[in-house]
Point group: C2
Chain length 290, copies 2
């Protein structure tokens, strides 16, 4: 055991974790060890490079707080988040597709009343998003919770913008007894991911642009249905084909239509003209645990 | 690009980093992406599992500070540090072998004078470590810096022990003009890695014991020679064959001999009996950059 080859060391480490109680955790740990050791061997990682990596991961943890999650951002930038989403959040044909949660979701966002806007200052183009939450058979889902969060017209989330009103462009709505919802907001903008931390170093080193195409984040939660974490992308955005975090799916791209009808505006409690998006969220039933 | 298979996503991410300027960083990033994606696919990682991993990594960064490095500890526990050491710090036959640096090294430890002890309280068995720093041809290396750090008789490093004198059992010596050094200390003890953070969760989940065999850390730095980071293990320790961080090498295990000679004690400025270890550090010349 004391004079080992590289392969013997890897096997010794694998053996060290073979008594992990939880079989799923054991499977994950053994695979993680195997792949990380292969990575180290493949590139013949040196100690100075290893310590750079250690510093990078440490810095990502340390810059994270209750308003910023740099480790998620790092996972997003390496396409890991999108891959996990693709593997893990598969939905049946006909259900609304999911995508990554991103680093800006907050627990404890405030509830928004029917007809209330999440936009707490007037600097963007007014927009409504409306429709139904239904199951796969078209049945309405009443009292579903729809969390939304997005950038303002200045390209910043509330948590990045010290001038923004609290919880600006963030909050959750409930569907009514017919499964209908009405979100009032402003048009989201494309924006650069935060580049003042380790993630920024990565983007610059790779000569990538830091932009994400404009989108509204939505998370839909309802009893007995699978939780849906998704984006509503603006179909006119220039970054749809080069999203820095690889999270665009075709079915999530929408046409934000200009609605000039005074009657429609009046019925939704907004001023014409306004951007009008009709979008149903279709949720599969929750899988029953075996 | 927008409706992708898992394999197409991985390729898209790899393409995203193919313009990385620094060719070595590009090689490392592309391999890291490839292996992490393979890991995610192999275990079919779910979003809840992914978020657990994110929280774990974030917590490891956040519990780290100028006295504690949990990300290194995590790397140590997964055998990554030892593997990197094995790959990257190879030395020619005859040179002193290296091992991992571990999470307790501190920059800015104090210099210790010839004859001074790094033990700043009297709770362990007195020990000296003495010998020469030489090159591969036996030439003495004067003015080499020998950093040492180790646990006290209570199993704690200074940074873990609020009752310890500052920099207890930590500091650096210099070799004299004949390449000789004299370290005064106490016998190190085996100790559990810190288990009050994320690393502890991992060790418990894997049902591993948290112990490291007793050792003195040493780092030897000298102009024109390769820096050596190593351990001096106590040959009587019960954990030599089950080091929790997989860092034992046979050549680093030593017999801590009891020396009862009053004359020897007097010549080293200690009281008899004392533990007496003679150990030469043999350093290869620094590789000249091409």
């Amino acid at each position: 055991m004391r004079n080992m080859t590289e392969e013997e060391l890897t096997q010794l480490v694998l053996d060290g974790y073979s008594n992990t109680d939880n079989p799923r955790l054991r499977e994950i740990l053994l695979s993680l060890i195997k792949h990380l050791h292969e990575f180290v061997r493949d590139v013949q990682l040196t100690e100075p490079e290893w310590i750079e990596g250690i510093k990078y991961i440490t810095a990502a943890g340390q810059i994270s707080d209750d308003k910023r999650q740099e480790v998620i951002l790092f996972s997003d930038l390496l396409g890991i988040s999108s891959l996990v989403n693709m593997i893990s959040a598969k939905v049946p044909e006909g259900a609304t597709e999911s995508t990554v949660i991103g680093p800006f979701f907050l627990e404890n966002a405030p509830e928004r009343a029917w007809g209330e806007s999440v936009a707490k200052r007037e600097i963007g183009d007014p927009m409504i998003i409306r429709g139904k939450v239904t199951g796969m058979n078209g049945e309405p889902v009443p009292n579903a919770r729809i969390d939304v969060w997005q950038t303002d017209a200045n390209g910043m989330y509330d948590v990045q913008d010290s001038n923004a009103p609290e919880h600006n462009l963030r909050g959750y709505y409930r569907t009514n007894e017919r499964g209908e919802y009405l979100i009032k907001t402003v048009r989201p903008t494309s924006y650069p991911i935060p580049v003042d931390g380790p993630a920024g170093d990565l983007v610059r080193a790779a000569k990538r642009h830091p932009w994400r195409p404009a989108h509204v984040h939505a998370m839909i939660t309802a009893d007995k249905y699978q939780t849906l974490i998704t984006h509503i992308f603006d179909g006119e955005d220039q970054y749809l084909d080069s999203d820095v975090v690889f999270a665009v799916k075709e079915s999530l791209i929408h046409d934000f239509r200009m609605n000039e009808s005074e009657a429609d505006a009046k019925s939704f409690g907004v001023n014409a003209p306004f951007l009008d998006l009709e979008q149903n969220f279709i949720l599969p039933k929750q899988r029953v645990a075996a």
